[in-house]
Amino acid sequence: MDTLHYLFNGFGVALTATNLGVAALGALIGTIVGMLPGLGPINGVAILMPLAFALKLPPETALILLAAVYMGCEFGGRISSILLNVPGDAGAIMTAMDGYPMARQGLAGVALSISAWSSFIGSLVATTGIVLFAPLLARWALAFGPAEYFALMCFAFACITGLMGDAPMKAALAAVMGLSLSTVGLDSNSGVYRFTGGDVHLSDGIQFIVVVIGVFSISEILLMLEQHHSSDGIIKLTGRALFNLKEVAHTWWCTLRSAVVGFVVGVLPGAGATIASAMTYAMEKRIAGESGKFGEGDIRGVAAPEAANNASAAGSFVPMLTLGVPGSGTTAVMVGALSLYNITPGPALFQQNPNLVWGLIASMFVANVLLLFINIPMVGVFTRLLRTPNWLLVPGILAVSAVGVYSVHATTFDLMLMSAFGVIGFLLRKQGVPMAPLILGFVLGDMMEQNLRRALSITNGDPGILVESNISIGLWVAAIVMVTVPPLLRWRARRRARLAPAAG
């Protein structure tokens, strides 16, 4: 019953005028950022994070803003998927498969409204999941010592490299790059300056914002130069604007199933909205069997991935809040945001700062309701924004990014470093190196090193402590499974695909 009591207090925080307003603003900005092709939740959160700090918002308000933006992005991505056949963010790729055909059949309004509805259900299920499971996990995690934390972070990296798909080695390298960047600056234990090259600007390390805005925002602009989407192909909204009860009933179980799967996938560190929506799309296609018209405008093909990507976004808050180990690139950025306030997320946060944790969770419920209202009646307004030409949009993104970086330390050095990270990030992304592990590494680097050193201090240097407790052993085994099983499965699938034509 404690949980209900805390949640009730959380609503007290969430429903103050400031936080309510911030949630509404975040939901609106998030929907727009999610909708614009090329800009996803990480960009949105990364650009707004320094601004929230510069505006001197209190930590819970800043976190509510960022969470609302994140959730809004998962809602907004579907709009351009359905109307343009271009996903607004990575999680909305599957929505285009059936959403765009529906729109071409004159059912754009139905596709948009049912996907908003299933997004809402997905978030609702997952936020309820947070309420149920996060306190349990946090209580369990209180028993973690430095050795367990070190193993946990290795597990997180194993997940993000194992599940990243086609290039696990590149994902691992990205993580190592992020970890290396985090070692730049003064080592607080010994007073040694590392990798600074004698430059004072680097003596307290590389600013988190500089890295994030560089590798996501600036490099994204350079990547956008290669993909010219014209907004001429936008399908006009005609016909029925709202789904009917029959359609809700038809998609109900599929939405609910996808929401649960999405939540579970979201909780796993590393596996995000993209994997969740692809998984549930395939699952629903199989369940529907012959009766489905997936790929030609099946309404379930819109509902399932949307429920899943929203659920996984909310689910990725669980490891971030309870363990301090973010489950997605976007929540990694939020951990960085909290570090600006000298707050380290983790199990202790539930006791030390319940207002922050429960205020955030309650706000997620509030933002979800706001998003449903923003996204169904106001969808016409957003489609008009989709026509913003790139020659205005891109300089705008660049200017706001620079404002964000400048607002923290007000130095030209940071801006130059941001530009350099932008070019490096662009080159790496062109080469198929994912950036999410890099950010995760950068965020976790200091914590990982500190926990390793602390663990080894306990035993005076004997590494045996790292595999002493059952929890650590379990985490190490899970980590090994995560890096070995997915490549094995892929290898088997590829072999079967090669053998199949020969056999048939």
Partner: protein, 148 residues
């Protein structure tokens, strides 16, 4: 080919890290693991991962071939120049100067991009500096806007 370049770059960076980190030692040490171990571990992983890519590249050849190099060069230079001029010219002017080449790289005409840049510079300055209290440099226009 290009995965090999990436791998080789990682090996080089890892080696440089190891070389820089080899002398990191605490003057007085209280703990068994000093400031050197973790960077050296990472340097080792970086070299190993890079070497793996050199030996087993997964991506070949087509890198950057279809990239619009001229527009890219334009945009990259514009980003760096923007960063350099941000404080000196001030936000509004620097944004205008940046928006012209970037806007044109994204298909805008000269007058459109210029107008867009002036508009962005003014609107965002008023929004952030005046309305939201995020202090921005005024640079050469400080006689107009006041401040730094």
């Amino acid at each position: 080919m290009s995965d090999r370049i990436l791998g080789a770059a990682c090996v080089a960076v890892g080696a440089a890290m190891a070389w820089a980190a080899k002398d990191y030692a605490a003057p007085i040490s209280y703990e068994p693991v000093g400031p050197r171990a973790f960077p050296l571990l990472l340097a080792g992983l970086m070299v190993a991962g890079g070497a793996w890519l050199v030996v087993k590249p997964t991506m070949n050849g087509h890198w950057m071939r279809e990239a619009p190099l001229k527009a890219l060069a334009f945009a990259v230079v514009a980003v760096f120049v923007y960063a350099l001029l941000f404080e000196w010219l001030g936000f509004t002017l620097a944004t205008t100067v940046m928006a012209v080449p970037v806007g044109m790289a994204f298909g805008g005409s000269l007058p459109k991009s210029l107008a867009g840049g002036v508009g962005l510079g003014l609107v965002l300055y008023l929004l952030f500096d005046k309305a939201l209290d995020v202090v921005l440099p005024t640079g050469l226009l400080s006689f107009l806007f006041g401040g730094r």
